[in-house]
Symmetry: C2
Subunit: 337 residues, 2 copies
DNA sequence: CTGTTAGCGCATTCAT
DNA sequence: ATGAATGCGCTAACAG
């Protein structure tokens, strides 16, 4: 006797319909070679019992699941925006989407996405999208596309933004407003995007003749928590910066909050510019001037790439770079000389 | 010889380390009864080969996965916002999050989430969060919590907002601005939230003495696509409404777009109010006046409830109702008599 | 047309 | 302390 809590399995259906398990499997999957009347009888039992095949058991056996996995470090503004684009791309491809979220503590668990990847790819998912992973080498030959990759040349297909150009644009914008002491809150050091944004910051400073002051650089790791301390440090210097370029919007918003908690007005006492253009950046007060990297498009293109890769595995890894653009809002202001 | 494409399995590790599969399993799961030196030898091989156990195979066998599933019809503004709250709730509970997204075409596949639910619950996930499902009865006794449930009394725990009150507030707000012909774009008819919001609209109209004109009500199903036609109809009437209350923000934004494509100015020629307060509603132009239902909190509370339910299965199903609040922005205006 | 058999990768008895 | 054997739910040969 089956316990009430147990899930209904293919065996239950088979027993109830008086056929073999294989036959049930055939009608479930619409295979040929089943008599119409047995088929409908089995179908009736399926409907009656409310049977659905277990994704887990099925994929363990068939190694073809029609699902695409997306592995994100956390469900925060950036990745959720990315998901919207991925969902758009997946519609009517025949694939389904399964998102695995880490616990948000990137630092604690380097390589966690490799674990997930191994656990999904080859069994649950036909291909996987890796978002801001902590490692380059995933040691797998299953289809994988990386969004915002780890630092260093990637053997995998990647989708990224014009991080260098965007960062220079941001810094130039502040310089153009007359700022000379410009702080920088860097991103996750392991990511290529963070490296390039810092490099863009440096390059713009050098080019303008202002030069680089190492004392004005801190690391915010792209998160609110990691940004708060460094932002305090920067703003409590004896000769604090008049503007701060934060490597992403989350850090920028955290910086504005810290500034305001210190009694500083943004943008009157401090200009802040971010990077990403997450939705939240338009809602902060003041609204955040930032560099837009069409996040949804990144998700869309990456998913498209992945589906292509699954259907046609032997391709040269593509490396897409999407454009960035300055979005001027209320958080920056010219220095009053 | 193993093919290069194949995933590394526990068998590979066992062979390489010269031990049995069982021993590797013990090492992986930290079971007692393994000699220190064999353990470390096996561990070395695991690290070397980059082995990770397959989530699929593991959960098929053990029926305890430490993952919570979330099933959403699509990855759009509402559900992605909900996910942020769910992620917050899951941090440091020891559970992991797996999100399954439908293909967005709710109408086409009634009951799709039941399919997903069966496929996840009992095998992949220890418990499941169902977001705006198309059916009441899920015919399962595994832990399930429903967000924004199907119409009718639910035997399952639910999390919802004060839909009736919120809808009355919205309608009252328009009435207070002097509007008398107020159109309504209804939501997905199968959802309790849609039913209650329509009821709130009616109730407010009745109470104010304006009364209900059936000609001013259309169905937008909570989606942009389904809203566009009905919005056109409403605005091209010979005696069009001066204000429209849309049952969610996506519909409201679509309505504004239709109005503007017709040469109407919002709010000068038409006032529009929404429901949800998704992030996008603050970014539309004009910014959307709406009813806030703290979406993230719904995700947070629902996840909390689900974790409780998993740990303590025999509970009375809780029914949480979260408050709503009017958020005044730029899309409504008093009628100039 | 249908049933029997053999695994998919893993955890868990029961032996040894 | 370790290995061999069994089965989770299912699909894919192979028989009949």
């Amino acid at each position: 006797m089956r316990k009430a809590q147990d899930r209904i399995t293919i065996g239950d259906v088979a027993a109830e319909a008086g056929v073999s398990i294989a036959t049930v499997s055939r009608v479930v999957n619409g295979r040929y070679g089943v008599a119409p009347d047995t088929s409908s009888r089995v179908q009736a039992v399926i409907d009656d019992l409310g049977y659905e095949s277990s994704l887990v058991a099925r994929s363990l056996r068939s190694h073809r699941t029609s699902v695409i996995g997306i592995i994100v470090p956390d469900l925060e503004p950036f990745s959720t925006e990315l998901l919207k684009g991925a969902a758009r791309a997946i519609h009517s491809t025949g694939y389904e989407l399964i998102v695995c979220a880490g616990d948000g503590h990137v630092g604690a668990q380097v390589g966690w996405e490799r674990r997930y990847l191994s656990r999904l790819n080859g069994t649950l998912a036909d291909g996987t999208l890796l978002v801001t992973p902590t490692v380059v080498d995933v040691a797998h030959n299953a289809p994988v596309v990386v969004v915002d990759p780890h630092a260093g040349a990637s053997p995998l297909p990647t989708v990224a933004s014009q991080n260098l150009e965007g960062a220079m644009t941001a810094t130039d914008y502040l310089i153009g407003l007359g700022h000379r002491r410009i702080g920088f809150i860097a991103g996750r050091p392991d990511l290529e995007s963070a490296r390039l944004r810092e490099q863009g910051y440096l390059k713009a400073l050098e080019r303008s003749g202002i030069g680089f002051d190492p004392g004005l650089v801190r690391v915010g790791e792209y998160t609110r928590e990691a940004t708060e301390g460094p932002a305090h440090e920067l703003l409590e210097m004896s000769d604090p910066p008049t503007a701060i370029f934060a490597a992403n919007d989350v850090s920028a918003i955290a910086t504005m909050d810290v500034a305001q908690s210190l009694g500083l007005s943004v943008p009157d006492d401090l200009s802040v510019i971010g990077f990403d253009n997450i939705l939240e950046s338009a809602l902060s007060s003041p609204s955040l001037t930032t560099i837009d990297q069409s996040i949804q498009e990144m998700g869309y293109e990456a998913t498209r790439l992945l589906v292509e890769l699954i259907d046609e595995p032997d391709q040269e890894p593509a490396h897409l770079t999407l454009p960035t653009e300055l979005v001027v809002r209320q958080s920056c202001r010219a220095v009053t000389a």
